[in-house]
Subunit: 108 residues, 2 copies
DNA sequence: GCTATATGTACCTTGATCGTTACGTAACAA
DNA sequence: TTGTTACGTAACGATCAAGGTACATATAGC
């Protein structure tokens, strides 16, 4: 959890996760997306690996990374302790759509 | 968003948010909860303030902090781009409760 | 074996961050 | 006004994170 939020706090790493959400990508392809040099990407990938957010599979010289979204569910679970609070506030602002929001909330 | 995730990446600050989720708290009370000295707490509070996660109100000498959960909704929105991915995986593990999960997911 | 390709690691530098102690400030209380 | 309480800020040292360059490793192809 600590490691996951730490990993998510970096813009480059979030960009990498977004790219990975479309499917497996090699380290080189990820590096091409970012304004930093490849060794930096390698280190970011290590952080993501240690946070459990990616899996690696080797294919010849290539390392193919894929997203492992489970740790994000932990973040979501942590966040859910606050969800009621902000939804309450949003409801106060948009009272005209209260009925729809209440329906949705009741199923969580 | 950047500032919010940055703020959330620290354990002490998350502890402060948790305390604040029960209601407004003074800076001193927050400091008492943490293993660090008050000046450190003050700086953490500044980070939370700059991320928009807390509001301050002055009451005589005291500064009363209250949680402002709206920025957490942004994090939730970012996270929601991945929610389908991890729910898919969890469903694969717990196929027996698929019906309940699918109901919930369809309303998000 | 030799070279090219793909990637990670080591090492260095710079800038941010965390905590501490010391100090400044503002509001009450006597 | 003097002291006390409750904060914040400044300045400092230590640690950490992010980037780059240079190098090591491993696989594929010849």
């Amino acid at each position: 959890m600590e490691a996951v939020l730490q990993a998510l706090s970096d813009e480059s790493r979030r960009t990498m996760l977004e790219a990975l959400s479309a499917g497996p990508v090699t380290a080189g392809e990820l590096a091409a997306l970012l304004p930093i040099a490849r060794p930096g990407v390698s280190r970011h990938l290590r952080v993501l690996r240690e946070a459990g957010l990616v899996d690696v599979r080797q294919d010849a010289q290539r390392r193919i990374y894929s997203l492992r979204p489970e740790p994000l569910a932990e973040v979501d679970a942590w966040l859910s302790r606050y969800r009621a609070l902000w939804e309450q506030r949003l409801d106060a602002l948009n009272t005209e759509v209260t009925r729809g929001k209440r329906e949705r909330r009741s199923t969580r």
